[in-house]
Symmetry: C2
């Protein structure tokens, strides 16, 4: 039982859109990811996703609206709902989601990360 310092984990990598696993419990992963620019529209068939912002501003785009998520705030995107994470400047985000979750959901392209490092 070691504690995890979130800022310390973010200090170990700098590439955006490349989530790292920083915790695991009950079949869920806690991931740290840097968000910068636009991701791809996608959804997850079987997984709800939580995005907790620790630094910067995340804009979560949905087909009908955009929600701005600031440090100390989180948003839960239910399974099946199309979304596109965007950050004009870089944002640091913690994800809580099932270990089965693929970053690009139903889409597979050059941004898909199938194997994630544990840091």
């Amino acid at each position: 039982m070691e504690k995890v310092n979130i800022a310390e984990k973010f200090g170990t990598f700098s590439d955006p859109w490349h989530p790292r696993i920083v915790g695991e419990l009950n079949g869920q992963h806690v991931k740290a990811v840097r968000v910068k620019g636009e991701f791809v529209w996608h959804h997850h068939d079987h997984e709800d996703e939580l995005f907790l912002v620790v630094k910067g501003k995340l804009k979560m785009e949905f087909r009908d609206k955009t929600v701005e998520v600031n440090p100390g705030e989180f948003i839960i995107v239910p399974r099946g709902v199309e979304h596109k994470p965007v950050a004009d400047d870089e944002a640091e985000v913690i994800l809580f989601e099932p270990a089965t979750t693929l970053n690009t959901g139903n889409v597979e392209n050059e941004r898909t990360k199938k194997v994630l490092d544990k840091i």
Copy 2:
């Protein structure tokens, strides 16, 4: 899809050891709880628990050591492991755990909260 502001949620209650549900996903709950003084020794037979500190200092006591968890840090307590959360001064903590998790785990006493409000 509304975002949740964690500080705002903590602003709606003041009683310690009384978790509120602030999010739900994949059969898991996100809870906000104020920790002050000593809780009871307990464990959870079937649930791992994540404690993320947002304000103050949480001391997580185990039978063989104590881990101090500060804002921006979290600790995962695996199922079966006895623990006792303590905070000399009040701390604000976010929990991430299965919806089935009872706050006092294997122990049932006056501090047990069987039904939690969603706020």
